[in-house]
């Protein structure tokens, strides 16, 4: 597999970040960065990452099943994550979650038919003082009301 030049440069820097003989340390970051480009952790990607690091593919699989941000199935182009953990719950994060499901017609970890949007109920994402919080891919949105949520989604639809 080949990746974009930008990603290749990033991976090279990554592999040089660890002491000699410790390339396995690059495994999780490499999966995260390549997943962003490929869309999910495909069987080919597992093989490729294993080859580049020099470990058996089973050691890659072991890690993929452990971490919640590594997905074997592709998520939407815009992955919408709503936090319902305690600090967000206290600012009606659970109601925001229900609203999100209705607005998008999706449930937990479901992807829209056109592959554009996916939805996930997530655990605390470190935005507790600005609750309730939503993340779209890696972008944070704070103090999200139902109206604000609709605006976020509408602006994503415009981007498509």
């Amino acid at each position: 597999m080949t990746f974009s030049a930008k990603l290749e440069a990033k991976l090279e820097k990554l592999l040089n970040s660890y002491p000699p003989g410790r390339r396995k340390s690059a495994l999780i970051p490499m999966l995260m960065f390549t997943q962003d480009e490929v869309g999910s952790i495909t069987p080919e990607l597992v093989q490729e990452v294993a080859k580049r690091i020099g470990i058996p593919p089973v050691q890659v699989d072991e890690v993929v099943t452990y971490y919640s941000m590594l997905h074997k199935k592709p998520m939407g182009k815009y992955h919408v994550q709503v936090c319902t953990n305690i600090s967000c719950l206290l600012w009606d994060g659970d109601q925001l979650w229900e609203h999100a499901c209705k607005k998008l017609g999706l449930g937990h970890k479901e992807v829209s038919a056109d592959g554009q949007i996916s939805l996930e109920e997530v655990e605390c994402m470190g935005a507790c003082s600005w609750a309730p919080a939503v993340q779209v891919n890696y972008d944070f949105h704070h103090h999200v009301t139902k109206e604000k949520f609709d605006q976020i989604i509408d602006s994503l639809k415009k981007l498509q």
């Binding site: 970040s17 690091i53 452990y66 994402m125 507790c128």
Partner: protein, 439 residues
């Protein structure tokens, strides 16, 4: 870039550069006293640096509150192995959102703290382990690290003084357990985040089995001001056994939620009423969690007279924790809160040991039933028994983190569980009289 308005009651030591134009840039940092403490450390011996940190009474800001100077002192002086500095930037304890603010507003403060720690123990490399969700912080850190290399504060011959230090960022991929130090090290070595048996502790055998200093972001970020002010003066900012300031995340039912830098020993009442602008809607405070959802819960009336420091919270039967304050008003449904908290720990249990894996699953099932009002009295006791049985019997402290809040909620708010059952029984009885309803 700030996330909330500062409060006039804050004591701004770590956050003093927040709000300056381009506060994350090295230019702003250097123009405002940045890297001066690191330069000072180059003139000090390892013992002198560690002594200064000991005198500051700095206690780890990641949750456990272990004295930082003592921890650094555990690193063997004469080790043939390389030594490492690891920054815990996994920040995932619910209610906690301070490390993020620190890195976003002033990444060089963290870098300087890490450099000083490197000097203190003789480490030549460091890793900043950032939770996967904070990808934008990695970009901010990478940029800051690049600036520090360009200005000669990182690299093979720092400031021409023959000192070497290389610093790297490393991303996690979504696992609360990777905030636990030994699981973090496993993850940093490219494995599943399962905790290690301790001892040996990281100071002796950490990353790649080499001596490692592992601290929280805020802990490292405290160090430059300690060398700047002197350990003693820094200690005096706080209370006798815990020095300095603490970044405090006000979350839940207060008017001005936000992250505020308050001296240790700050009164709870003043924190809520003056810093936090009072309870939302003028309601009463029903429950209070001082430092992240893994701390035992206090009743509102228990919390009002306390001060925000390790000993005061320990005396009240809880912990200062990570600084994630969770405030719940009189309308909060405590059964639902208990369920949501347990839902999190059940989801995050790494599954390695049985009391935690099974305990969290059973308790979550029981709480789900109780929340729907379809459990029995016996289920309430069972939740209490199961959490009591998990405490102290799990391989790593995640099991305790799940048990402590649950046990305290059941004990202190038992009447709410009973009321839910009664309410459900009454409506069931009503339904039974109705021939059209099948139950």
């Amino acid at each position: 870039m700030l996330f909330n308005e500062p409060s006039p009651l804050e004591v701004k030591v770590l956050t003093k550069r927040f709000g300056l134009p381009n506060s994350a840039s090295i230019e702003t940092y250097l123009a405002n006293g940045g890297y001066k403490s690191f330069e000072k450390s180059l003139e000090m011996t390892q013992e002198q640096i560690i002594q200064e940190v000991k005198e500051s009474n700095l206690r780890g800001r990641g949750g456990a509150g272990f004295p930082t100077g003592m921890k650094w002192g555990f690193v063997p002086r004469q080790s043939p192995k390389p030594k490492y500095i690891v920054v815990n930037s996994d920040e995932s304890e619910p209610g906690t959102c301070k490390d993020r603010v620190l890195i976003e507003n002033d990444p060089h403060l963290l870098i300087e703290g890490v450099l000083i720690a490197g000097q203190a123990v003789g480490a030549k490399a460091g890793y900043i382990y950032v939770r996967g969700e904070y990808r934008y912080l990695i970009d901010i850190l990478d940029k800051a690290i690049g600036e520090a290399y360009a200005r000669g504060y990182l690299g093979k011959n720092i400031l021409g003084r023959g000192v070497e230090f290389e610093l790297y960022t490393h991303t996690g991929a979504g696992a609360y357990e990777c905030g636990e130090e030994s699981a973090l090290l496993e993850s940093l070595e490219g494995k599943r985040g399962q905790p290690r048996i301790r001892p040996p502790f990281p100071a002796v055998a950490g990353l790649y089995q080499c001596p490692t200093v592992l601290n929280n972001v805020e802990t490292f970020a405290s160090v430059p001001s300690i060398l700047e002010m002197g350990g003693k003066a820094w200690a005096d900012l706080g209370v006798p056994k815990a020095g300095g300031t603490k970044l405090t995340c006000l979350t839940g039912h207060v008017n001005k939620t936000g992250v505020y830098e308050l001296p240790l020993g700050f009164p709870v009442e003043k924190m809520i009423n003056e810093v936090g602008g009072g309870m939302r809607g003028g309601k009463k405070m029903k429950a209070f969690i001082p430092g992240g959802s893994s701390c035992p819960v206090l009743l509102g009336e228990e919390a009002w007279p306390l001060t925000m420091d390790y000993d005061s919270m320990a005396k009240a039967g809880t912990m200062l924790g990570s600084g994630g304050v969770i405030i719940m008003d009189e309308d909060t449904d405590m059964v639902k809160a208990a369920l949501r908290i347990m839902h999190f720990y059940q989801h995050e249990s790494c599954g390695w040991c049985i009391p935690c894996r099974e305990g969290t699953t059973w308790i979550k099932k029981l709480l789900t039933r109780l929340n729907q009002g379809v459990g029995t009295e016996r289920d309430i006791d069972l939740v209490g028994d199961l959490s009591a049985n998990m405490l102290g019997r799990t391989f790593c402290p995640l099991g305790d983190a799940a048990a402590m809040p649950t046990a305290s909620i059941v004990k202190k708010f038992r009447h709410e569980f009973e009321a839910k059952l009664q309410k459900a029984q009454i409506s069931m009885a009503g339904a039974a009289k109705n021939p059209f309803v099948v139950i």
